[in-house]
Symmetry: C2
Subunit: 367 residues, 2 copies
């Protein structure tokens, strides 16, 4: 690669001249004749500017660091992909590149820490948490980010009572779905959760007993199984559940994949959905549409959450000092796996637009 200096030398001007021209080719500080000569030289030497030198000089990189602590490969997750996609679409539209730091084996907090210490220089950051993060990890990561003294936004993280920019999936705890089923009159509801030890799972497990109690339903832990977000495990656990022979009217799953897998299992056992058992998924992913019957599902609006995170970051980058919290509310997408009939106490939350993200934002400033 040739450098600015070489181009300047070749043309017979100072490197400042070339730089000035490159940064504003309509400048009138460089004569048309010189501009032409510079153009020629650039073409001849196939010159392109070194982005890192520019970044250093301007202390602006147009790069947003994505802190995504995971011990499994990225881009394979039905839940985080739409979020990343939302982030990417907004960042791209505003000319920002995304930098994914290496995410080796190890605990998630180690990963995040390494990612952060390697990352100084980005214009801003977006901090994800994945199922592998404990609350403690998350707080440590936030602290670490704080040190960088650059704008950042947290995403897919349980609501924190801190003056930081955060985008919250309001219905991540999925009580929305349970309430929907309760509203339909179901009483014997099987919960198919993800990994037993995840933060999100634990926080759910704290809320559910109360939720049921409010309806006069005693909590019975036999009605909770863990499908680890995989088709295989959820089918396996479900069959074990069936073997117990306890009655079930509806199933609320923490992912469409698990819901689809269980739907198949139900059909294979000779029962039918929703006549015998109702099934509810989560994510409004393609799986929910391809499943037969099509799944009624919770749409947490992840894509939009990703977009919001990027938007929040833009506010911050533009100098907005107020830290904001954006809560994205989930909606229910009614399809065929839960009968429409029945008392319906959540009408306002039901999204009849099928699949277009119907966004409901609740903005409120924190500090």
């Amino acid at each position: 690669m040739s450098t600015l200096k070489e181009i300047a030398q070749y043309v017979g001007v100072s490197s400042a001249s070339v730089s000035i021209y490159l940064n504003d080719n309509a400048t009138n500080r460089i004569s048309p004749r010189t501009k032409l000569k510079i153009d020629e030289a650039i073409k001849k030497f196939k010159y392109q500017r070194n982005m890192f030198a520019r970044n250093l000089s301007t202390s602006k990189s147009n790069i947003i660091g994505i802190i995504f602590p995971t011990i499994v490969p990225m881009f394979m997750n039905d839940f985080t992909n739409p979020i990343l996609s939302g982030v990417q679409s907004r960042l791209s539209a505003n000319g920002y590149a995304m930098l994914f730091f290496p995410s080796f084996a190890g605990t998630s907090s180690e990963i995040a820490k390494r990612q952060l210490t390697a990352s100084v220089g980005c214009d801003g950051y977006i901090l994800f948490s994945t199922g592998f993060c404990s609350l403690q990890d998350i707080l440590a990561n936030v602290q670490e980010l704080q040190n960088l003294q650059k704008p950042y936004v947290t995403l897919n993280i349980p609501e924190l009572d801190l003056p930081i920019n955060q985008v919250i999936l309001k219905d991540l705890d999925s009580t929305l779905g349970i309430e929907y089923l309760l509203g339909k009159g179901f009483r014997q509801i099987l919960l198919v959760l993800g990994r037993e030890k995840d933060v999100h799972t634990r926080s759910m497990m704290k809320k559910i007993p109360n939720l049921l109690k409010q309806r006069g339903i005693p909590f019975d832990d036999r009605y909770v199984i863990y499908g680890n977000y995989t088709a295989e495990d959820s089918a396996k656990e479900f069959s074990r559940f069936l073997d117990m022979g306890i009655p079930v009217e509806a199933i609320c799953c923490m992912s469409d994949i698990m819901a689809a897998s269980i739907t198949t299992a139900i059909k294979q056992s000779g029962l039918s959905v929703p006549e015998d058992i109702s099934v509810m998924g989560r994510n409004n992913s393609l799986y929910s549409r391809i499943s037969d019957p099509q799944l009624t599902t919770m749409d947490l609006h992840m894509f939009e959450a990703g977009q919001s995170a990027a938007n929040l970051l833009f506010d911050s980058l533009a100098g907005g000092d107020a830290k904001q919290k954006v809560a994205i509310a989930g909606t229910i997408v009614e399809r065929k796996s839960v009968p429409k009939a029945g008392r319906d106490s959540l009408a306002s939350r039901i999204d009849h637009t099928f699949s277009l993200p119907a966004c409901r934002r609740h903005w409120y400033s924190v500090v």
Copy 2:
């Protein structure tokens, strides 16, 4: 953010000392006492090195630029996600970060060009092509990359007769699947392709007539429909096909999503899979396992292709001068949507391991 210089000043040493220590904290050029003091200062000021300054100084960034020209959001694609995932897993394992450049609206070649011109400074590059790239675009992108004089690998690109590093999905044209169905004795095969104007689609359409002719089957273009890789379009086009009332024994789809959608449509029309019509998917995605019946599908081994691309890049980064071509062969994953009975001429290509990527690499050097 504090800087190296500030830390050095605070400790009372030269910035070189601090730098030397940071780059090798086991160095014996710095006394234990000084090391301690530096540690304290770093902790006190929460100092972290600026990555861009380091990159500039060392002319090594540990960043790989991902050139991914697309006009739709990334990370939403069932085909490219596993490839990206494979790339990411290898890059991460070797300590490399991934930089995704902004990908605005516009033609894919514009996008790639902008991505490239903004990217000088990465240690290496991986060039994707997406459905939006024409062959001409691809060649232009390769040329552009060549100018950067850095190692790069092309991926998901039709085989090019150029001395460059390329990873090829050997069975991207999916004749593998058609041959499999032909081998089973099917004659009336409906092809469900993606977008009519994609490079890949066009290159397929060139090969298919010959393929059929070899078996004595005349090519009939009514047996080709375009599902645009979506569940909706493929269902719609398939129903239009059914309306034509021409006989069909088997369906070969260019994605599991389309196959799953069509499987549902078949069932809804009162026919059954595979008794009445066989259906074959592509990608061995989760969709193929969740579909009912589970889909027989082509596994192109995209994850592994991604890994190979990263590996090739490592070879190049390590100074390997020989340009390599890696062809990843596809395999057939037999499930339930095509009956097992029948003549089977492709036994060696059938993968009975269900879903673990059974890799078959064919290495050969080009130059």
